[in-house]
Amino acid sequence: MIEVRELTKRFGATVAVDRLSFSLDQGEILGFLGPNGAGKTTTMRILTGFFPPSSGQALINGHDVVEEPKDARRAVGYMPENVPLYSEMRVEEYLNFVGGAKGLDRRRSKQEAGRVMEEVGIAKRAHQLIKQLSKGYRQRVGLAQALLGDPPVLILDEPTIGFDPGQIVEIRSLIKGFAGTKTVILSSHILPEVAATCSQVVIINQGHLMAEGPIELLRAGRQGGASLKVLLQGPQEALTRLLQDVPGVDSVACTGASPHLEGACYFTLETEAHGQVAARVAQAVVAAGHGLMELSPVSASLEEVFMQLTTEEHASGEEAA
């Protein structure tokens, strides 16, 4: 559905996107992650035909974005960052214009405008001037124009910026609802958002592909072992020594006293592998006569994966220099 091969974009001496390749099947939702300036927007602009790549290829629905720009763009609904809209127009009037610009006839255009306004929840604002809308509603208008014409591919650049938490949940569930029918790329630097809505994730940093794959895979594939969080009652030093002696535990860190239980303290253990180590830790603590209040595995969050990938790159880059 979407295929990006060896995509490179240079602006003068700066390389914004460097030999980026990934692909996405129909009905999947891809989270496009990266710190600011990583090349997310540049990649999206290439996909939507705003400018061509310096080298490499991008296909949408089998159409090359440079060779067959109209066919490629016909398949795409795009919502740019900051959602530039014609502020002097009214919502419905604007959406009718978008319909025309996308090549729909007037009847179809009107129909579609009505449909997308319902879908994103702005039907009540149809006759309001866009400049009078709040940021959240402008964002919805932006989403509405992308959805207009029912394109099979949606490219959304930071779609939930400007929403309050309630609206974010609403928009996320709207996007999640496209799973299976539309192919979606959404860029974000908000990781829980990606974890909540996307089936696939691509992480880029400084124009390079850092990781690609299903979200679960990325979490599991994190370097090193797992970690455990335990809440224990007893003398801190003795406990630390005890935990260090458990086979399989690499390091022990006391992360602070419990706010609720007197004399209890949280420890974070870096371990080799989960199951057995947790059991051994529990046994050791109980055998020594201390209180075991809580023991839970800590699975790596997407944040950790992200930080690990993006900072490692930075460090190795410095070494090379």
Binding site: R45, T48, G49, F50, F51, P52, K70, D71, R73, R74, V76, Y78, P80, N82, P84, L85, Y86, E88, M89, E93, F97, V98, G99, G100, A101, K102, G103, L104, D105, Q145
Partner: protein, 255 residues
Amino acid sequence: MRAFLAIYRREMAAYFHSPVAYVVLVAFLLLTGYFFYAGVSFYTLASLQVMQNPMMMELNLQTHLLAGLLGNVSMILLFAAPLLTMRLLAEERKSGTLELLLSYPLSDISVVMGKFFAAWSVLGLMVAATWVQIVLLAFMTPMPWLPLAVSYGGLLLMAGAFVAFGLWTSSLTENQIVAAFAGFLPLIILWAVGWAAPLVKPALGELLKGLSLGTHFQGFPKGLVDTADLVYFVLFIGLFLFLSIRTLEAKRWKA
């Protein structure tokens, strides 16, 4: 075609939903109205004198009144056009709406043409509004309708040339003021460059006259059509529309 119409309608709405079109239209009508009043007063005075002394000169409505008025109108259009065209592409570039517009499955040609025809329509409306004066005049004296129609055709053509040029300067920058000034200056120079013809070598003079907007417009207010003038204006419009499309395309590549 649908995309062209959508853009045309949006641009027209942008002119008429904002004060732009009204302000320009009112200012234009006040100015031309004043020139009309002054011209007619003077012509009346001249007619009275000629009635007393028929040998003095031969007075003709088209050459002695209308040609002057239309010349003034064309000068005012020269100043109004860049003000109307400066926002066409510069504003879209600055506000970022161009990025979204270009993500739709439409051609650069329909973007440029939609905008060109919208601005041309507004100028056309201004030109048409001066017919209030023509109608007033028609109550007082028989009108040379055919030459007059030719003159107005010439005015519209020239307005088209101004718009095409202004659209091109608007495609070059994201700053509207820059677009307007880059529109005025070359147009004024192109307009007046023919005046220098008698002062230079004959060959160069011919070249200057050939380039000059003003020289090619001269015939129209008198009711004269010269194919060369027609071709000049059509080519002028075509050239700058072509350049606008190319600039838009090039900006895509560079952006």
